[in-house]
């Protein structure tokens, strides 16, 4: 019985580690990958690993739909571009769609759910009107959620396209307004890079900062293994292109107030995926020495058993409360949890 999701993590960064797996091992590996939304990535990584025929058949089935999923995600970005073209605002792709559009290794086999875009804050009203006119509609009819989103979150309430059933999240910054950390969205937009499809992506350092921010600051580490894998792939991609990439990330992270989040992300990526990140003593001092609290994050990220079940319930609940704590001041946290509890939403 495999203890936790280490089985998946190792298979991703060291595919040949999966070669000796028996039937039970492959069964658990596939179940964990599905639960962590990393099936496509696993298919890609273990393509050349010898495996029982049934395992290769199951993974081949998954590979067939990766290309379809990727094309649908890129089409969603194109549909948004066409809908917003008349406004003339820059549209920055975030997360999965950005990695796929820029053909980064982080995008290979990656399952892409919603379309996330970043637009300048002063254009958000025009963007909302244009999307509603082009066939998107509000995904959540719940008025409480809407008011909460409008005032405090860093994004429009989620929209869903009536025909394609796909969601779009429009951000004007990358962290909730209530969070203690306030990244410089204008600088991110200014440094964004134009792709040949007319859409933009963040600069490499900003992409890492955003991935780290998303991983720790506004989430309860749900989908953490996939976010951390993104960070691992991005780092390896960019470190090959220029040697002091980590330094440029640290400088940018400090500007955004995200240095602590990036250091934590790098330490964990190194622990879980052996990402070759490094600290610096000059020109700025950034240490990557392990911290005792890292173990708690590791426990949460790997809390998945061979049946795909979420395990370590207490650790998970602790991070759930923490994620809200970070997003809003204490008084509001209590009111938010009370409202959600009264309306019947309880944490998993």
């Amino acid at each position: 019985m495999n203890r936790d999701a280490t089985l998946l993590a190792r298979a991703l960064y060291d595919p040949m580690s999966a070669a000796p797996l028996d039937a039970a091992g492959w069964t658990d590996l596939i179940a964990i990958a599905r639960a962590e939304q990393l099936t496509g990535t696993l298919v890609h990584r273990v393509a050349d690993v010898p495996k029982p025929p049934a395992a290769s058949r199951i993974l081949a089935d998954a590979r067939a739909s990766i290309a379809d999923q990727r094309r649908a995600a890129l089409w969603e970005a194109e549909a948004a571009r066409r809908a917003l073209i008349s406004i003339g605002t820059p549209i920055i792709l975030l997360k999965g769609t950005a990695y796929a559009a820029a053909e980064l290794t982080a995008g290979e086999g990656r399952s892409i759910g919603d379309l996330d875009i970043l637009v300048p804050r002063d254009a958000i009203a025009q963007v909302e009107r244009a999307l509603l006119a082009a066939g998107w509609e509000w995904a959540k009819p719940d008025p409480y959620d809407d008011a909460y989103y409008r005032r405090w979150m860093h994004e429009l309430p989620p929209l869903i396209h009536r025909e394609r059933d796909r969601m779009i999240d429009v951000h004007h910054t990358i962290l909730p307004l209530t969070a203690r950390i306030t990244p410089d969205a204008q600088a991110m937009i200014a440094d964004s890079v134009l792709l040949d499809n007319g859409l933009r992506i963040l600069s490499a350092p900003d992409m890492i900062c955003h991935a780290a921010a998303h991983l720790f600051a506004d989430g309860d580490l749900a989908g953490g293994l996939r976010n951390l894998w993104d960070i691992d792939r991005l780092c390896r991609d960019f470190m090959m292109r220029h040697e002091d990439f980590c330094l440029s990330v640290y400088k940018r992270a400090r500007h955004h107030g995200l240095l602590v989040a990036v250091q934590r992300a790098f330490r964990l990526a190194r622990d879980i995926y052996e990402t070759p990140v490094r600290g610096y003593s000059a020109p700025i001092c950034v240490s990557l020495d392990s911290r005792s609290s890292d173990a708690l994050f590791r426990r949460r990220l790997l809390a998945r058993d061979g049946w795909g079940r979420p395990t370590r319930r207490l650790t998970r609940f602790g991070f759930y409360v923490r994620s809200h704590w970070l997003r809003m001041p204490p008084a509001m946290l209590v009111r938010h949890l009370w409202t959600k509890w009264r309306k019947g939403y309880r944490s998993a």
């Binding site: 379809d68 094309r71 649908a72 089409w75 194109e78 549909a79 066409r82 066939g135 025909e163 394609r164």
Partner: protein
């Protein structure tokens, strides 16, 4: 505003299967399937690989078909639908 130009999705991205009074169109770029009635297939064929205005398109259709109820407003309604589902791009 400059007159809007329209361009159909390129032929290689479209699988077109006429059935009865409807035609199936699979759009490779979006992965979506559309069931269309006339004049949608005829409009896509008439646009061919060009970028033309609605007026030019109406003229082109007039040379190929007997347009019984043709009007700019009607053609615009049909074009808007094709733009909404991504089979035609408005430039």
């Amino acid at each position: 505003m400059a007159e809007r130009l329209y361009r159909a999705a390129s032929a290689e991205t479209l699988l077109i299967e006429p059935l009865d009074e409807f035609t199936l169109i699979f759009h490779r770029a979006s992965g979506l399937t559309h069931l269309v009635a006339a004049p949608a297939p005829e409009i896509i064929a008439a646009l061919d690989r060009d970028q033309i205005s609605a007026a030019t398109l109406l003229e082109r259709l007039g040379t190929r078909y007997e347009l019984g109820d043709a009007s700019d407003e009607l053609l615009q309604a049909r074009l808007d639908e094709l733009v909404a589902i991504g089979l035609v791009a408005a430039l």
